[in-house]
Symmetry: C2
């Protein structure tokens, strides 16, 4: 996949060299000669990866990176800090500033392109999850900040060198105590059984019993643990394995000997990205879920009810079972609202919804039909039982106490689905049952 790359450097020559390399690989290149200009460009251009020089006047690479990562609109864009300084202290500083990668000049082309490939792949998935509309912003989703607490993170080390594993576990204990070490692939299934689903996995390239790349592939395609972020532990001479690993879906690598601070900083980067991606996914799921539920009562909403009722009618007809509708309406709700105010009115709705959701089976469809009106569709039941259930519901509501001196009652209409019924005539009859119950003095059940 190609991608939009922003190259930020104060030296024109550096920009030219990098630009030429990237163009040759068919990347689309944007350039900025200062940190401030880069921040400006990010406002108007859709950038997939940023290559950021470290040493620049005014705003240096670290500071620029911090600002990119602090802005919710740009925080998810991968940043690679590029520098002539090899010192591990700088690498850690860059990663702590939120950089996704830290590369030293002169750049190794193969490593650079392997990185860009893996980072643009991640970016394209984040883009899909963010959608293109404003709803996320409206719901406040875009303003999420990056995850900072890693005490509950789970880390898996796959390595048959027991000494090295212990050593790494020691280093990682600064971050979390949820670390497991396994020495071969067959133990992965056990972990899943124990519900140890790792957030990050470190695979040693020196592992002897299995091919580390095959191990990586099997994790990446395992539905339970495929979202674990994978890092390769390698010696300098294993770089060819690392390059292939990045291509297969690994997100980072360490070259031994490892500096503790760098290890921690890199793992934090991976974990942050993983949690960010997960939270985007959760937001979507929650959003989709909210769209079928009523916010106040947490019952299914009218829209869902209307869409789902035909399926229930079909199902009951196919299996030759009776289908019933119960229409439940809180008596004198308007007066309660006027006297006690809307907040208490809301409490009454919630309280009634709770009684309903605890008194029906999961296969029954319980929905908020209107303001103070609820509807329940049931099948696999008979006339006698349905009357008993309705009576029990009526009584539960009538004996409940919302607050001192505030008692409520509800009227209930019941009907059975007839072969000649349309969706509308079925519901209308339940409504008429309710109307009869109201007219007979409320706090009643009427079956018509």
């Amino acid at each position: 996949m190609t991608a939009n790359i922003l190259v930020v450097d104060d030296l024109e020559t550096n920009i030219k060299v990098l630009e030429a390399k990237l163009l040759k690989e068919y990347y689309i290149v944007y350039t900025a000669n200062s940190g401030l200009k880069a921040l400006e460009m990010l406002k108007t251009h859709k950038i997939d990866v940023i290559l950021l020089d470290c040493m620049m006047p005014e705003l240096d690479g670290f500071e620029t990176c911090k600002r990119i990562k602090a802005n919710p609109d740009t925080a998810h864009i991968p940043v690679v800090i590029v520098t002539a300084l090899y010192d591990v202290e700088y690498r850690v500083k860059g990663l702590e500033a939120g950089a996704d990668e830290f590369l030293t000049k002169p750049l190794n082309d193969v490593a650079l392109f392997a990185r860009l490939k893996s980072l643009s792949r991640i970016k394209s998935i984040l883009d899909e999850l963010q959608l293109r509309n404003a709803t996320n912003t409206e719901l406040g989703i875009k303003t999420k900040t990056l995850y900072q607490d890693f005490a509950n993170s789970k880390i898996l080390i796959i390595n048959d060198d027991a000494v090295q594993s212990k050593h790494m576990m020691g280093m990682l204990s600064r971050l979390t105590s949820n670390i497991k070490i396994i020495s071969d692939e067959s133990m992965v299934a056990n972990l899943i059984n124990e519900e140890f689903i790792p957030d990050a996995t470190i695979i040693s390239c020196q592992i002897e019993k299995t091919d580390p790349l095959r191990l990586l592939a099997s994790i990446k395609t395992n539905q339970y643990i495929k979202n674990s972020s994978i890092m390769m532990l390698a010696e300098e001479e294993n770089m060819h394995i690392v390059i292939k690993a990045l291509d297969l879906g690994a997100s980072d690598y360490f070259i031994v000997p490892i500096d503790t601070n760098e290890l921690i900083a890199r793992i934090k980067t991976q974990l942050r990205r993983k949690y960010y991606q997960e939270s985007l996914r959760t937001d979507l799921e929650v959003g989709m879920n909210l769209s079928i539920k009523d916010g106040l009562s947490n019952l299914y909403n009218r829209r869902y009810f209307d869409a789902h009722l035909p399926h229930l009618i079909d199902k009951a007809t196919e299996s030759s079972q009776y289908l019933y509708a119960l229409m439940i309406d809180i008596d004198n709700f308007k007066t309660i609202n006027d006297i006690y105010g809307h907040q208490i009115g809301d409490e009454v709705i919630k309280y009634t919804a709770k009684i309903l959701s605890t008194n029906f089976r999961v296969t029954d469809l319980v929905a908020r039909y209107g303001g103070e009106e609820f509807i329940v569709i049931l099948y696999d039941i008979n006339d006698k039982n349905i009357l008993n259930i309705a009576e029990r519901i009526r009584e539960s509501i009538a004996t409940s106490i919302i607050q001192k001196d505030l008692h409520i009652t509800a009227s209930i209409g019941i009907t059975k689905h007839l072969p000649t019924d349309t969706k509308e005539s079925f519901i209308l009859r339940a409504d008429q049952g309710l109307y009869q119950a109201k007219n007979s003095g409320r706090n009643m059940v009427r079956f018509i």
Copy 2:
């Protein structure tokens, strides 16, 4: 990226050969020795790409492919039909059966792996869009069928060989008349201005003025047209360009001379996949949108209102502007519901919502607050204007005719936000204003 590949062939040797090749590239391989077994496996395994032999006893490759594509649970899994038959008639038959690709034995490894890479990339994006929850199924989203009508599809041909372009346009006219031909990249901007956003783009590898791969890269990173499906038109000796193009994001290619039926079949495959992906994205957006809107009135719902009100208070406070709340309640709604039934009650809600949404500015927050109660938050306005607006709304409602003999009125309470107000006290006061309007005889506006 690695992927789960299902190899389907009735000959054990064929399976073994293909399996070995795939394992070497670190794919995870599943195998089935008949079409029926393949369908069985798809029920329990998460497969990313299917390699399907054409000639099998019982269920042949075409029939198996048709069944995979007819099942909403598996329709999105890319299928590659593999065969010893080169005949173009078979290729078209395979593509018409819904196959994503048709490869002839002996398989060219480079072409095979370029394909698998591009197909698994597409699959991973579809997976993200489908989420992992049951909501889609509940909303009936998963049962969508594949797109079949291409009359409105837009196709772009980028080629400087005018004769060849004309010829292709003629062949494609069987599918759609929305075809444009351009001869170089500079004309892409014009197309976007004319709002010709192509669903599919064919780029000639023989184009002289520009590098076809650079052209591809610039389309794939252009935010307006990046979702266009890209196909390369190549001569046999350009295969190296095609392989790189698949890597950069192209989805398919044609080798000249082109058979009309094959061209149409391949373009249909691409268009179907594009529309499928778009519809998944739209479902998510619609779902997210539904979660903040009330289904009946199409106004913002209570949940959104509660989440958004603090932002409006902050905004008004920062800019030192007045903030007002209007609480609007339909008079005697309960009686209307009882006399005319719920369907008419719903009409009343919709009608009132329409009056509200047409009488306020886009910056005003208009929400359904409860059953027959609406709330509007406005700023950048003064006491006199707010009273005029409320009066106008009251009058619009009072003079409206829902149906013969059914007139409605509404009462309105207004209040201004005070520096000492909490969110709750602000809304409570609007509620009290409404209560006063009701007590003074309804169909009134009260500002407190």
